[in-house]
């Protein structure tokens, strides 16, 4: 397929050559894709939608969404954990293979809070495979001379993602693991609570979080309690990724809704990053 450009979303569909694939942790793979048009226009918080099968087979039929972890020259990087059959198929790809990919999709992180003289402190809170988009955001902030603080959670030490990348960007990083094998023994949300608590009264922060739903809900609660702006990057099953199926919705608080129709927002188009206080958090 020829690259086809989408003026409004600046998204394209293309066959991207897989430049490298490597296992960065048990069951975690990092892919670099040669996709110049995507690499040049992507922004932190956006994602790509990848076809996990050969064109003439039909299972698994739908694409899989992955946050853009980095744009490097003509390449983009993604990092994923093998969850099911789609990610397993992708983990079997080899350098030189062609990958059917659409992107960049979704709205970038809203970084308007930094368009001020005294920018607030960006707190990047990532759990598990929620880390990749935050690495991209860290890079974007560093390019603007803003230094975020990263709080990274994982199940165990060898599943901690992004520590090297953050270090190479000179981003201070605190770690938490469920088993205490490295960093704080406990939740990444403990680190957030602690950090916001310690924040000098005159300082302000903005939280950017990505990770499992229960973690994000907890992050949202903590941020609200500390009256701190918080943006979360959400996941939902995404059949199309381009806003046409209405499948990937999350419920928004009543006050956000102009009418009943607006109760749900498509995270592929109006997200994946949304302001946490606008979301109607549920059980999941």
């Amino acid at each position: 397929m020829n690259p086809t450009s989408s003026p409004t979303q600046a998204a394209i569909a293309m066959m991207a050559r897989l430049v490298t694939i490597k296992s960065v942790a048990p069951h975690h793979f990092q892919l670099s894709l040669l996709a110049p048009a995507m690499a040049s226009r992507a922004l932190a918080g956006q994602f790509v939608h990848v076809l996990p099968r050969a064109a003439d087979t039909s299972d698994p039929f739908l694409r899989r969404a992955f946050s853009i972890m980095a744009m490097r020259g003509e390449e983009i990087d993604i990092l994923f954990r093998v969850e099911g059959r789609g990610t397993r198929q992708l983990s079997l790809l080899r350098a030189g293979d062609n990958v059917d990919v659409i992107g960049p999709l979704g709205r970038p992180f809203d970084v308007s809070p930094f368009h001020v003289k005294q920018p607030p402190l960006p707190l990047l809170v990532g759990g598990g495979v929620g880390v990749p988009p935050l690495l991209c955001l860290a890079g974007a902030l560093r390019a603007r001379q803003i230094t975020p603080l990263a709080l990274i959670g994982a199940r165990t030490s060898n599943e901690v993602l992004g520590a090297t990348e953050l270090a190479s960007m000179d981003v201070r990083t605190r770690l938490a693991t469920d088993d205490g094998s490295v960093g704080h023994h406990g939740r990444v949300t403990d680190l957030l609570e602690h950090t916001l608590h310690e924040l000098p009264p005159e300082a302000s922060a903005v939280v950017y979080a990505c990770g499992p739903y229960p973690m994000l809900r907890a992050v949202a609660q903590i941020a609200a309690r500390h009256r701190t702006l918080c943006q979360v990057s959400l996941e939902e099953n995404m059949p199309c990724g381009i806003g046409v199926c209405n499948g990937c919705v999350v419920a928004m608080k009543q006050e956000q809704n102009k009418d009943d129709y607006g109760r749900y927002r498509r995270i592929c188009l109006e997200g994946p990053a949304l302001w946490a206080h606008e979301i109607e958090w549920g059980e999941r």
Binding site: M1, T4, S5, S6, P7, T8, Q9, A11, A13, L51, S58, D59, P60, F61, L62, R63, I102, E236, N237, P239, C240, G241, I242, G243, V244, C245, N246, G247, C248, V249, V250, A251, D259, D260, Y261, R263, Y264, L269
Partner: protein, 303 residues
């Protein structure tokens, strides 16, 4: 270049490939992805009288070669549709078929009357077969109700009128005949098949709505058989839909008796799927020496 012009009752289209309702948004989302003027026609997401929030998430899940959806007809409602969506839709360059749904016969008639007042609408598709809302399937599983709702819609509009049938029935030809008797100009065969998926870890349904409609390649043989049955029963044109991904898939439907086809779930995997289908049909016709697409419609050889 073979002649792709297709006549669906009173409606003349440049080719027989339409988009399926609910899989192409209101077209503004798709405009960046393809040249909409190349479509046979564009069928937009179902419109109801009042706005509908739709079902709680999760609304979709993947299954083998397909997916279940229970969107629940989320839509802006008639008024906002006329105000916010129609202006773009009517100017997008493709003939516009508005898909409508209601809970009562009067709802359907009301929607047809209201849309008939608007310019730039090429036709109306009656969604009497949505499996994901209360009573959504009542109409299309009962010949009497089908005939009644189509007849009321027919009296409410002079626009070309399609009835979209459900495959979840014992004998779809009874419903097809009823829709024809009610005055439909064409039949859309078919909507999704009702299915269920269970997450064995949580022992919960994968969809908040419990059940959903199955679409995608998995259902192609079933939809194709429904089209073939209907084409052998009624004299009005059939629009085949269900699992079409490639031009070959579309040709199976045309050969089995469909006058036109719709492409649905395939668009999710390939935003430009509908164009690939159009191009492939053209290529097939040329390679096989057909001057017009109408020559393959219903050309299935049975001996």
């Amino acid at each position: 270049m073979a002649d792709l012009v297709t006549q669906i009752g009173p409606l003349r289209l440049q080719n027989p490939v339409l988009t399926a309702s609910g899989t192409f948004g209101y077209s503004d989302e798709m405009a960046p992805w393809l040249d909409l003027t190349r479509l046979g026609a564009l069928v937009c997401k179902t419109v109801t009288r009042a706005p509908r929030a739709g079902n709680a998430p999760p609304r979709t899940c993947e299954t083998s070669s397909g997916m279940l959806n229970a969107i629940g007809l989320q839509n802006v409602g008639l008024e906002a549709f006329r105000r916010d969506k129609l202006p773009f839709l009517r100017d997008c360059g493709a003939p516009l078929i508005v898909n409508v749904a209601g809970e009562t016969v009067e709802d359907f008639a009301f929607l047809c009357r209201a849309l008939s007042e608007e310019d730039g609408i090429a036709g109306i598709e009656l969604n009497i077969s949505c499996p994901n809302v209360a009573h959504g399937l009542d109409f299309a599983t009962d010949p009497h109700l089908t005939e009644d709702v189509v007849a009321h819609a027919r009296r409410a509009t002079t626009l070309p009128l399609f009835a979209k049938l459900s495959p979840n029935v014992s004998d779809i030809t009874l419903i097809a005949r009823a829709a024809q008797n009610g005055g439909a100009d064409a039949l859309c065969v078919a909507n999704t098949f009702v299915g269920l998926a269970v997450d064995v870890r949580s022992r919960r349904p994968r969809l908040s709505n419990v059940t959903g409609g199955l679409s995608g390649p998995a259902i192609k043989p079933l939809a194709l058989r429904a089209v073939w049955k209907c084409a052998g029963t009624v004299s009005i044109p059939i629009i085949g839909v269900g699992g079409i991904v490639t031009a070959h898939d579309a040709l199976e439907f045309l050969i089995a008796g469909a006058t036109a086809v719709q492409v649905g779930t395939a668009t999710f995997a390939q935003p430009r799927a509908v164009l690939t289908v159009i191009e492939g049909i053209d290529a097939y016709l040329n390679e096989n020496g057909f001057r017009s697409v109408t020559d393959v419609v219903g050309s299935l050889k049975l001996d």
